[in-house]
Symmetry: C2
């Protein structure tokens, strides 16, 4: 498969018009790596990002006492190092080939020049990422709808118990933090709050929650499932 | 709150340097909407995207017989219409204000000019979306790890039963389709396959799966939980 055809299969570039894929292919450099070879180290300037062509790449951090913590292992078609490179920052971790591998390198400078000449390339890449984010949001929502309402009900009852069973409680963390705590995302949490309100379980006003049906919340904790 | 401060709180622009937020704020137009007012209709040229300032916006499609299907309801801080606009396409659905609302409009032409002059704005927005995608991938993985392995085990056993209990089965759909079927994403499915292989439950070679421990797969279906 030539590089242009290969680029078209990578999610980050999926659906880009042929001429933009060709322009991209002209700035890429193929890098062959041996097992154990270091690609970049923490603190290195982010001069470009990578996409795995073959093999597996480990991203890891080293603690001050030399203990290694693996953050990700990336395989074929997956980009890595793109967040710090897009943001113009240093690499926050190390990258090493776990086996004989091949990666495509996209130099940042060349990418910036390409976007200068062809801003619609950037818009198209933004479209691709935005569409994937939408899809992921829906997936998280589907995955969350079974467990998160029950965890949220438990949390509301916990707040109430802490206030001696008061039916009026106040969130002491932001909704973003609460979403994280419950294992979901703010968008989905908002919809669960809305649904619980609509069904008459609670009333939400900013950070203040009024418990309208304690028994329904208790049932939700006990039996789980959706409302 | 002025527009620049407001823009800095929107996930799409989070962490952009002040001067880029200011440049963005200069191209935005604030639009006040009455309840029921149409913002765009299916098939309209995507001349720009929107971010909700106040109120709620419904995105919906109309079937040929006039039946309405709501796709999304967006609230404060959420962008809408950005995927078709980034991609330079027509709007695939309709948008209507559900109540008295205010939205920020980002004209596509002005955005392209801004990126031409300042390509790092596009890179920064790409960084923001790429980082969110990473976070969402991790969330989906966490949410999936409890249920998806058990569903995958059930699917492998189903394939085997269809072949009269053969211990050698072949996936008849792509791994992307399988991920969708099991309610997860390809990245997470790959990791679950890798973990099942490492634990000696199955051996995977392309689309071919060899069942090494039928009883372990059955246990996974029965009791769920992680391996």
């Amino acid at each position: 498969m030539n590089i242009v055809d290969y680029l078209s299969t990578i999610p980050l570039f999926e659906g880009l018009p042929r001429e933009q894929l060709e322009a991209l292919s002209r700035i890429t450099v193929t890098v062959a790596l041996n097992k154990g070879q270091i690609i970049f180290s923490e603190g290195d300037e982010g001069k470009g990002f990578y996409v795995v062509l073959k093999g597996r790449i480990k991203i890891y951090k080293l603690s001050p006492d030399g203990k290694e913590q693996t953050l990700h292992i990336f395989g074929k078609g997956e980009p890595f190092g793109e967040v710090p490179v897009f943001a113009g920052k240093h690499f926050p971790a190390n990258a090493e080939a776990l086996e004989k591998s091949k990666v495509l390198f996209f130099p940042r400078d060349a990418l910036i020049k390409l976007i200068e000449k062809n801003p619609s390339l950037a818009l198209n890449m933004l479209a691709i990422l935005a569409r994937r984010l939408r899809e992921f949001t829906v997936k998280i929502e589907h995955l969350s709808l079974k467990e998160v309402p029950s965890r949220l009900a438990a949390y509301i009852l916990y707040l109430s118990d802490r206030e001696d069973g008061s039916s009026q409680v106040k969130l002491d963390i932001t909704k973003g933090q609460l979403a994280s705590l419950l294992g979901t995302i703010p968008e989905t949490l908002s919809r669960i709050f809305a649904k619980m309100s609509k069904q008459g379980l609670i009333e939400v006003l900013g950070p203040n929650i009024k418990i309208l049906s304690r028994s329904a919340l208790e049932e939700l904790v006990e039996y789980g499932g959706w409302l």
